[in-house]
């Protein structure tokens, strides 16, 4: 069947006899090729609608944009450091890198993300990490946007879903215009896959194996798999209640095939995460981080409030969905309420959890928006026309997007020729707050051996790129830091409270490395100490060393 958009009129396409009297099906009277006689032989499954093509174009554009964003400097380097350690030693059971955390139990639920990240970085450098991060975000958008488009055929609703998702969870993906690459991104892809499979109206044979595989991976990629299990559980319970309510029989839900399908999916998910080197321990570890006392000091673990930008976005989204409920003809399912209220409560408890509520609320906004607009403007739904040409266009766009991404450039044209160019390029692809020059200085100059007191924001990068064996104080993995050490760190670096100089002596600190953005008070405090001297300073931070090392 010819593509609707590219088919000339039937009249124009009518084959005409040639001067020799034979019929030809290839040329128009003016001698140009007659496209109307071509048949679209693309397999049906591969044909795309125009809406899907638009959606791919938008997602691809976003992907390209994301893949150019510099990398934020906190967690990433710590995860790569753990990946490097795991490749050399195997999965840890106690914290392996920070001397002050020695012996602290550590079930590294993100070990697979870290190993993958380390290998990608080793092969492709920063562009590889940018690529994987951008792919993860784009995949999440594609899964949720695609699900809306698939269900409603409304490309605008799909785009709106993606936009809401991006905006509400923006602070989990980006800091300013910088990417925050974390194993959590892999968890989000797993979450999106789970949600899409769990809310799918059709039950395919491969859905259950897909759930199993997703959770088997998720249990090794990030500790957030618990959210996925909770989501499937909510969908299962919701389905039971909905079905039983509909037939006015409390026990009827048990016989509902969809309910049984979801129940089995939930159980498979629960079991699949056990396929981890930590076995049953994954459950204990996944629940331990959120309850850790140290993380309460971090902004991203604070309760969600209206003072936060993402709190304002969340409130606006909540308001919008209430309005949409008023106008949408679509029935509100129990699962939907359970998920919105449950995950919403989780986000209110700690703002980092908004990353799970955002896609769900965006999805339901998209769903009800499509329903409402259909009701207002276009009651009849037309089956979108699919064509191979759209597929070709989509593939072409994907190739262009890929080829123009930094990763594509490296893959197609190779890495930079000279170390200078590589260094310049590296500087541009990491956040301006990354202490690159300071770390280079540390590598080129000798600092006193022994304990280093560093700001936690730089701990990860120093761990990754700093001198080998440097004894750092803290990194962004604060949940692994003993409470007493973390309390001392806060008192010294955040407020210079108590006898902070004595604390430096007690820990045997011989070197202090601080950033100016968050710890300028500490730097000023260090300047006034007689037994310390400033060894290095740049626009980002400073290094102080003890005149007579301990």
């Amino acid at each position: 069947m010819a593509s609707e958009s590219n088919s000339p009129s039937v009249e124009t396409a009518t084959p005409v006899p040639s001067p020799e009297g034979k019929r030809t099906t290839y040329l128009l009277p003016d001698g140009t090729p007659d496209a109307s006689v071509l048949q679209d032989r693309t397999p049906r499954q591969l044909k795309l609608s125009r809406g899907a093509t638009v959606l791919i174009a938008v997602i691809g554009l976003l992907f390209t944009f994301f893949s150019y964003l510099p990398l934020w400097h906190t967690d990433l380097w710590g995860h790569l450091s753990y990946g490097r350690w795991i490749v050399e030693h195997g999965v840890p059971t106690t914290e392996p890198l920070m001397p002050l955390d020695a012996g602290v139990p550590f079930n590294d639920l993100a070990w697979l993300s870290q190993v993958i990240g380390f290998n990608i970085y080793s092969q492709f450098g920063v562009p590889g990490i940018q690529f994987v991060s951008a792919i993860c975000i784009a995949s999440v958008l594609a899964l949720f946007g695609g699900a809306i488009y698939n269900r409603t055929g409304n490309v605008f609703a799909a785009i709106a879903t993606m936009a809401f998702l991006l905006v509400i969870a923006s602070q989990q993906f980006f800091v300013g215009l910088m990417l925050v690459p974390r194993p959590q991104l892999a968890g989000m892809v797993c979450f999106a896959t789970t949600f899409v499979l769990g809310t799918s109206l059709s039950r395919r044979w491969w859905h259950l194996p897909a759930i199993f595989v997703t959770f088997a991976l998720w249990g090794n990629l990030h500790g957030s798999f618990v959210v996925g299990i909770v989501t499937l559980g909510a969908l299962t319970v919701g389905r039971y209640v909905d079905f039983s309510w509909r037939v006015k029989n409390a026990a009827a839900g048990w016989s509902d095939p969809q309910f049984r399908h979801l129940l089995l999916a939930t159980e498979l998910a629960v079991v699949a995460v056990l396929l981890s080197p930590y076995g049953i321990g994954v459950y204990g570890e996944a629940l331990s981080v959120a309850g850790n006392a140290n993380v309460r000091d971090l902004v991203e673990w604070e309760p969600l409030t209206l003072r936060m930008l993402q709190g304002k976005f969340a409130a606006a989204a909540g308001l919008l969905i209430v309005v949409l409920y008023r106008f949408s003809p679509r029935r509100i399912s129990v699962s939907e309420l359970l998920l919105l209220i449950g995950l919403g409560a989780l986000a209110l408890w700690t703002s980092r959890m908004i990353v799970w509520w955002a896609p769900v609320v965006a999805y339901y906004i998209g769903l009800h928006l499509a329903a409402a607009t259909k009701c207002w403007f276009n009651p009849a739904r037309h089956q979108p026309v699919r064509a191979g040409l759209n597929t070709v266009v989509a593939l072409g766009l994907c190739w262009i997007y890929f080829a123009y991404s930094p990763f594509g450039v490296v893959l197609l044209h190779g890495p930079p020729d000279s170390p200078e160019v590589a260094a310049t390029r590296f500087r541009k692809t990491v956040s301006p707050q990354t202490p690159v020059e300071l770390t280079n200085w540390l590598n080129e100059n000798e600092i006193p051996s022994g304990q280093v007191f560093n700001c936690s924001e730089w701990g990860d990068y120093l761990l990754w790129a700093g001198p080998e064996g440097m004894q750092l104080f803290v990194s962004s993995h604060v949940h692994l830091t003993p409470e007493e050490v973390w309390t001392d760190y806060r008192q010294i670096s955040w407020g210079l409270t108590g006898d902070w100089r004595n604390k430096l002596d007690r820990y045997g600190v011989n070197t202090v490395i601080m950033d100016k953005m968050l710890h300028s008070d500490m730097i000023e405090g260090m300047r006034g100490l007689e037994d310390w001297e400033r060894a290095y300073e740049d626009r980002l931070g400073a290094v102080f060393v003890r005149r007579h090392p301990i």
Binding site: G103, E267, V271, P482, D488
Partner: protein, 422 residues
């Protein structure tokens, strides 16, 4: 999906969980118990002995410490405390020095048995402090905690009670009578201490001693926080930071390190790497005290400064000099010769501290009992004799005579004024 399939699925799930639980490491299982069931990580550490190990003095040097000098010092530090408001810190020091079997002809002096009872029996403690006082022993579901800190009637340092009772020779089955229960033993205090221990707490000197003297040859254990502790880690913690910072000008951790090293010889509680690091640390201490000794023989509180401590002396009070000197000669008494400063330096230090102790009035000794008790313990070590045994023999030959009453002896210690003593 049929009901049968669903049932099979349930069995599969249950089987997987049982299998995962069985195959997972004990650590993984404990992680689940802790974070889901609210249990803690701690597993009681096996203790294979009822009597604690002891630090082994290595030298019998009458040329350094004569019987007369030792007797004079021990006479000074007899545990003569008022029955009212006896300070646990003083009693702990006296008990550690004299031991649980100590007896005295002097009726003012408290026997080892009485001191141990004061520390282990709430009724005895209440006799001294009254019923309104906070108890020294605190009941916990799994064991007994010792109240410590700067409060009235509390032990001063964490695990000091445990280390002192242990050094005094109290057995593991010593009954502990808390306000709520009467069937605890010293073993329950030890286990509670092992459970509560945090590596980064302020003082670990006595913890290291208390643990090592009981649990060797165990060298690793898991705290209630899940952290994997070992004597390697403890020794690293003891060596952390500026040498002078630490209890008694940093000398206690030197003693604890030396004790760990000595116990390691017999019980292998340290790794080879840790042994090397500790030896290096102790050598650096030796070098510092070689350079920082004053001509009269005492060491100052800033002994880690080495020669600079002599060139630019700090204005130490006498008791600080006694602390540094007394504690140094104590750890040297159990240290191999390689870690000794030249013998004449040890001799000078001993002479100075003996003379200084002899000069003290009874009130001075009372006020600073804790520091002078270390002098007595150190000198007895240099004669390879237990103070109580020596004193028992000495009193047999030199029976106690009542002292003439003086204003000094009737002086009351103001128990409401906490004196920071170690």
């Amino acid at each position: 999906m049929s009901a049968k399939t669903l049932l099979v699925a349930q069995l599969f799930v249950v089987a997987m969980f049982i299998g995962a639980y069985a195959l997972s490491s004990s650590h993984a299982r404990q992680t689940v118990r802790t974070n889901i069931l609210g249990d803690d990580y701690y597993e009681p550490v096996p203790v294979v002995r009822n009597e604690p190990l002891k630090a082994r003095p290595l030298y019998n040097r009458p040329d350094l410490v004569s019987d007369e000098d030792l007797a004079a010092v021990l006479s000074q530090i007899q545990p003569r405390f008022d029955a009212r408001h006896m300070k646990p810190n003083h009693i702990e020091h006296a008990l550690r020095t004299w031991g649980v079997h100590a007896t005295f002809q002097n009726p003012e002096a408290v026997s080892g048995e009485t001191m141990l009872r004061f520390l282990t029996d709430t009724a005895s403690f209440t006799d001294s402090w009254g019923i309104d006082a906070e108890p020294l022993l605190i009941d916990h579901p799994e064991g007994v905690e010792i109240r410590y800190g700067e409060m009235q009637g509390a032990s001063y340092h964490h695990d000091h009670w445990l280390a002192c009772c242990t050094e005094a020779g109290a057995t593991l089955d010593t009954p502990i009578f808390t306000p709520g229960r009467r069937n605890w033993t010293l073993g329950d205090v030890l286990q509670q201490s092992l459970r509560d221990f945090r590596l980064d707490e302020r003082e670990t000197e006595w913890t290291a001693m208390g643990f090592a003297l009981w649990i060797a040859p165990e060298k690793e254990w898991t705290g209630s926080d899940g952290r994997q502790y070992s004597f390697d880690l403890l020794s690293t913690r003891l060596m952390r930071g500026e040498k002078q910072i630490g209890v008694c000008s940093g000398t206690h951790r030197v003693y604890s390190l030396m004790l760990l090293l000595q116990l390691d010889e017999e019980h292998d509680i340290l790794s080879d790497e840790a042994e090397v690091v500790i030896m290096d640390y102790l050598r650096s201490v030796r070098d510092a005290i070689m350079a920082s000794q004053f001509p009269d023989g005492h060491w100052p509180s800033n002994w880690p400064d080495g020669a600079d401590a002599v060139a630019n002396p700090v204005n130490d009070e006498l008791y600080k000099q006694v602390i540094a000197t007394g504690h140094h000669i104590e750890w040297l008494s159990i240290a191999p010769k390689e870690l000794h400063p030249p013998e004449e330096q040890i001799k000078k230090a001993i002479d100075w501290v003996v003379a200084t102790t002899k000069e003290q009035s009874r009130q001075d000794i009372r006020d600073r009992y804790t520091f002078f008790s270390h002098v007595g313990a150190a000198l007895a070590n240099w004669r390879q004799v237990h103070p109580a045994e020596f004193w028992h023999d000495w009193e047999a030959e030199h029976p106690w005579q009542p002292e003439p009453a003086t204003a000094d002896t009737s002086a009351e210690i103001d128990a409401t004024t906490p004196v920071k003593t170690d």
